[in-house]
Amino acid sequence: MKFKLFRAPDGSQGGGSAPEAPVISTPVVTHGAGPVGPTKISARDVSVFYGDKQALYDVSLEIPDKTVTALIGPSGCGKSTFLRTMNRMNDTISHCRVTGRIEMDGEDINAKSVDPVLLRARVGMVFQKPNPFPKTIYENVAYGPRIHGLASSKGELDDIVQISLKRAGLWEEVSDRLHSPGTGLSGGQQQRLVIARAIAVEPEVILMDEPCSALDPIATAKIEELIDELRERYCIVIVTHSMAQAARVSQRTAFFHLGRLVETGPTEEIFTNPRERRTLDYITGRFG
């Protein structure tokens, strides 16, 4: 039981594509069409407190596999906080408390038997600002495989590094300078390096916290293209401030406001036919 969480997923589990009516207590508007893939992560009544201050109120959300789910909403609405509950990064903040239940492949990730360190190997994360380690490009990508012992030989590690860089669309640009510092790359390249670093440990989920906010339009376009490719293999959750980006890369969208989940559904419907007044106001730029 304890180790079930860390077995490779066989893809046959989960609730299928049938629309599920989530058990929710708050009036969240959920559009008719169900998740695109089987549910990967399911959050029920998740609340987050920073000390006495509540940042997130009873959020329940189903996140399907092999899909890009965008979390949108004005600054301080709790979308990044929610993202960080999914790989328990909030554990690293001492006064932060999470209540509610988050299941990944049907198993509670906050259970005592789950080691957050191993969970994070399955749920990769990409941050707002590119944060390559002050090491070489090779060492940056090899970091995860090394600490988790994924490669038994130098050749195997080389392969992992190469495959990860190729999947992140960076191989062409850096294959001749793998041993120069990762911090010497451009911002967009650094962000793709960080994505390569995240996928080198074969995660199942990749969380992205405004991955393009520090990048120029061309680098942003490359990352968006990459996200679309990565969707075939991973469950991707992306926090973004850009409505256009949410519309371009995601299949499902969840709109947060003031710490509450307001509306969720297929991206197309949220953008063309929002049912909540606040959603409409936000996506048409009336606030936020």
Binding site: M89, T92, R120, A121, F133, I147, R197
Partner: protein, 476 residues
């Protein structure tokens, strides 16, 4: 005496400020003046006070010389025929009599009778000089004030001129620090050169004998003087090495604990305590070393030695039984303890300066805390930490009190931590404490040692600052 004028001068300056301000207000009435009345006032204050102050300083610097001249020129025949130093003594006593004090010596016949008259003359002269100084200062203040008052009109740029004076005053203050440093270095270099005239520099740097006892009388024996400072350098190096062996790991690891693992409450308690520890006077560490650690370690080694005597390690046992209180290990160890807060506080700052995003990146990859520290934080902080270590080394080399009290005086060329060694700083202290003649090689040797110490610590500090600086730029 002249300085009694100071309160009056202050009052005059304040008056000049008020007057200047009022005058500026009146003259610029109805027009747009370049500067505010208060700035005119400040300008008047400066021009009243500064010339007068310069006169006062000049008067108190030169009046003793003028006074002596005047005394000499009007002195009776008998006094003029005295030897130079006796004449000076006579004038000094004349001044004392004039001021109503006792004479320092008893003067024989002709002079004793001359003293009261000369005393009165001295009194008159000093009074005249004081009055002269005060009048000159008052005149300077008056002229300055008149000059400024004549200048006050709406178009006068008092604002900029006051600013210029302020810049000048600030510059003068910073120049004091720089000039003092230059002066110290110059005196070090000058006296070192004198030392290297009597002792060749190669002998000083590479000689292995240190015994700076030179003969005071020609017939003294056994005091030829040897100035090979190599034993001092090795002693300093040995103690620095021992200190760093204690301070580097303990300081660094406590910094890692404080910045990465400790809870906010623990951190908030321990950091100030560490900083207090850094403020303990080194003399306290010194007697802790000499009176507590030294005897304890001696007892420890002597006991171990007594167990070994007669066994297979008899020789070592015999040696350990003779270990003394004063050894390199004691001085170095306690110095290491002294440096722990220094290293820890610097390293803590440097580790904290590593961006949080790198920690998050590592944790998000599923790394544990210690993996993150070992593989991300320490490599990122390494240049800064090594800079901190170099700074600690330079402090260890320059540290004086602990080694004076706990390391000993015998200059032995050894790297054995159980031996008594001496350091450069200890030797400077022993060479220059007590009554010394200032031209013997023995005294001048202290300048040679001081210069060496200065150059080494300067080099270490420059390198350390460079490293720390380039490291800081990397993340800013």
């Amino acid at each position: 005496m002249t300085w009694l004028f100071l309160p009056i001068l202050i009052a005059a300056a304040v008056a000049a400020f008020l007057g200047g301000r009022a005058l500026a207000r009146r003259r610029s009435e109805g027009q747009r003046a370049h500067s505010r009345p208060g700035q005119h006032g400040a300008y008047a204050l400066i021009w009243t006070a500064v010339p007068a102050l310069i006169v006062l300083i000049a008067a108190s610097v030169f009046s003793p010389q003028v006074e002596r001249q005047l005394m000499a020129s009007g002195a009776p025949e008998a006094v003029q025929q005295l030897e130079h130093f006796r004449r000076e003594a006579f004038y000094a006593d004349a001044r004392a009599v004039g001021a109503g004090h006792q004479t320092a010596q008893i003067w024989p016949a002709p002079y004793a009778e001359l003293l009261p008259a000369e005393g009165q003359r001295a009194h008159r002269i000093s009074l005249m000089l004081s009055l002269g100084g005060i009048v000159a200062a008052a005149l300077a203040a008056l002229l300055g004030a008149l000059f400024v008052f004549s200048q006050i009109r709406p178009g006068m740029r008092a604002r900029n001129r006051v600013e210029g004076w302020i810049v000048g005053a600030l510059f003068a203050c910073s120049a004091v620090a720089v000039l003092t440093t230059i002066g110290i270095v110059a005196s070090l270099v000058y006296d070192s050169i004198r030392f290297f005239h009597s002792v060749p520099i190669t002998e000083f740097l590479f000689g292995t004998q240190w015994s700076p006892q030179t003969a005071i009388r020609a017939d003294q024996i056994g005091s030829s003087g040897a100035f090979g400072a190599l034993p001092l350098f090795t002693g300093t190096f040995l103690i620095m090495l021992i200190a760093m062996c204690v301070a580097a790991p303990v300081g660094l690891f406590s910094a890692i604990y404080l910045s990465e693992y400790a809870g906010p409450v623990f951190r908030a308690t321990v950091k100030p305590v560490l900083e207090i520890l850094a403020g303990v006077p080194t003399v306290v560490y010194g007697f802790f070393a000499a009176l507590t650690v030294g005897p304890a370690l001696r007892t420890f080694f002597n006991t171990i030695g007594s167990w070994m005597v007669g066994g297979p390690l008899d020789g070592l046992g015999q040696y350990l039984m003779l270990v003394q209180n004063q050894m390199a290990l004691v001085a170095g160890g306690v110095m290491g303890i002294m440096l722990i807060p220094f290293v820890s506080s610097l390293s803590d700052d440097i580790i904290n300066a590593v961006p949080q995003s790198l920690r998050d990146g590592s944790y998000a990859m599923g790394a544990t805390k210690s993996e993150t520290v070992k593989r991300v934080l320490l490599p990122a902080a390494l240049p800064g930490v090594s800079g901190a270590m170099l700074l600690a080394m330079s402090r260890a080399i320059g540290e004086t009190m602990i080694v004076t009290m706990a390391a000993g005086l015998a200059a032995k060329l050894t790297l054995n931590p159980l031996e008594t060694v001496t350091t450069v700083t200890v030797q400077i202290v022993t060479l220059l404490t007590g009554d010394q003649e200032f031209d013997s090689p023995k005294t001048l040797a202290a300048f040679g040692l001081g210069l060496t110490l200065f150059l080494v610590t300067l080099l270490l500090n420059i390198v350390a600052q460079r490293i720390v600086q380039t490291y800081r730029q990397q993340y800013d």
